[in-house]
């Protein structure tokens, strides 16, 4: 199956006159049509920046895609003119943001916020676009009659449903979901995830699901990419990565999680802190925190090694063979 999204060697910097934040550092990633890719990592790993790059929206405030290619259905996103890019946004690629409380315009009815997307991309007359807005609301489990209500009249979970309705209104081919349920309570999160996965299946949407919650990835994704300091350090199917995590960072993440099924007295956290993105370490970015780092790790940046689609960026796995596990 052809990849719907293919990112190669993406580098994104945010620079001010004083310093340069190296948010994304040579990230490569691809997503097959109709699949769900989980992008996991901690704060500052560059997950959101990656998603915004796909929409060519990192320019605010001083962000810039330095190099790399982003192919969406084989088309180079970076070569598109701004008005062509606007055609893609919302119609072919949609994005959901983390905080439903602030993602909706407080002065515009939710119906209109859905309808304007439809009008923009499908040129429907007002009445039809409003009807479509009502349908979309029903689809996410909100009565169509509420399309005249304003965002503040909805609870957090309902708002996120509205946000999802906006994103899916033009039946996009690709959905970038940035922590879509992080701001919600567990039981509401379960409702929203359930509804989302049904809709994704129904529409056949390909999804990049950005999250820090490994549980959500395990239950909702086909593939996983673990990000650290602007790189994908491990990539594979959910079975591969969860069944046989290889990169020391991924292993560390699992060790940090309190486990619901097993009794354990102590967690085994990763020591140290995320590196400062304005001052990244030499060699492997993870080496200062890595329990298995060698001199080579501190000097030389590792490249990807692959085995059956399971990709790891670590010197321990160089040459396609495990060296020491």
């Amino acid at each position: 199956m052809a990849a719907i999204l293919d990112i190669r060697d993406l580098v994104v910097h945010y620079s001010s006159d004083r310093e340069t934040v190296r948010a994304v550092n040579g990230l490569s990633l691809s997503l097959e049509r109709g699949k769900v890719l989980g992008l996991v990592g901690e704060t500052g790993a560059g997950k959101t920046t990656t998603a915004l790059s796909v929409l060519d929206m990192v320019q605010e405030p001083q962000g810039k895609i330095v190099s790399g290619t982003i192919l969406f259905e084989g088309r180079d996103i970076r070569a598109l003119r701004p008005e062509e890019m606007r055609e893609v946004r919302g119609k072919e690629i949609a994005m959901i943001f983390q905080d439903p409380m602030t993602a909706l315009n407080p002065l515009i009815t939710v119906g209109e916020q859905i309808a304007e997307t439809v009008r923009r991309h499908e040129g429907l007359p007002r009445e039809d676009s409003e009807r479509r807005a009502g349908e979309m609301l029903e689809l996410v489990g909100i009565p169509a009659s509420r399309s005249r209500d304003y965002p503040h009249q909805f609870s957090g979970g309902m708002k996120q449903r509205v946000v999802i309705a906006i994103a899916l209104a033009c039946n996009p081919k690709l959905l970038l979901a940035d922590e879509p349920t992080t701001a919600l309570d567990v039981t509401i999160q379960a409702q929203v995830l359930e509804m989302m996965s049904e809709l994704i299946k129904k529409f056949g949407t390909s999804v990049v699901m950005i999250t820090h919650d490994l549980g959500i990835v395990a239950e909702n994704c086909d593939h996983v990419a673990t990000m650290y300091a602007g790189e994908v350090v491990e990539y594979g199917t959910v079975d591969q990565v969860f069944g046989d995590p290889r990169h020391p960072y991924t292993i560390g993440l699992f060790g940090s999680l309190p486990n619901l099924d097993e009794e354990s007295d102590r967690l085994t956290p990763i020591p140290g802190l995320m590196p400062d993105p304005t001052d990244l370490p030499a060699g492997c970015f993870f080496s200062p925190r890595c329990p298995r780092a060698t001199e080579r790790c501190q000097a030389e940046r590792p490249s990807d090694s692959e085995e059956g689609g399971h990709r790891v960026k670590c010197h321990l796995f160089g040459g396609g063979k495990e060296e020491g596990r």
Binding site: R86, R89, G90, A94, T102, A103, P106, Y150, H152
Partner: protein, 340 residues
Amino acid sequence: MLKYAARRVLMLVPVLLGVTFIVFSLMYLTPSDPAQIVLGSNATPAAYAQMRADMGLDRPFLAQYLHFLFGYKHPEFGYRGLAFGDLGRSYVTNRIVFELILSSFPNTVILAIGALALALAVGVPVGVISATRPYSTVDMAFTVLALLGASMPVFWFAMVLIYFFANRLGMLPAMANPSNALSLALPIVTLSMNSMAIIMRMTRSSMLEVMRQDYIRTARVKGLGERLVVRKHALRNALIPVITVAGLQFGHLLGGAVLTEKIFSYPGIGSIMVDAIYQKDTPQILGSVCFVAIIFTLVNLFVDIMYGLIDPRIKTAVQSGRKKAPGKELADALKRLFRK
């Protein structure tokens, strides 16, 4: 909504009591003698004492204040008191205070509306332009201009305008009166300068704030064009605090155009109040100040209601009787920032 408005109007009562009390106390402290003013300097001591007694001036302070509120009987000066809507007669001209207010206030309204309209017409677009390219040369230039506007003494700016446009170029009259539209140009420009600067700065910072919001990002992600994003999604949100400020400005323009009116010899309520203070004309001062305070409060009320029409969050909040509406806090903050 109606209940809310009614409650706000009722709140006027304690405010007015306070206002009259403060102004009355200040007038009481003023070293001047109303009896003297009424009688002139040639009165006999006996007539003078009689007049003091008639006017209640020999009574203690509180009794005098109550007189003022609830009236007193006097063959010539007797009146029913402020509480019954009677503002009395001027000591100096013996004219009915309310008549003088009614004849001058519309003149002030004309000036204030003109000034506010000009301030909005220039301030809002300039503020938006500044905000869409922050820290550019254009923005910096506008910023300095706005600060300059806020730093200029009104009376000096007026005199400079008069010097150039009236004296040197002879294009416009130096004195203004409401029957001559052309003569209003200079006072309107003078009066609007300060408000213009404030509205421009407010629009700019409010736009910048709104453009950072998540929902603007959402609108862009939908593929909307930048102009639509600014006009439909940003501007409406950004204008909410601007409207508050504009309303407050209007309130101040109605009550505080004192200097402008004096310089252009314009017969507005500001001139009347200043003259009254100079002449120690207590009924005239108290009457006009109370009138202005009522207008000021009503304008504020009107702004709050306008606000609700624009911001659905507040409409529901007001309807459900919540005391602290979201945005009220903001409005308060702005009030305190921009009172002049």
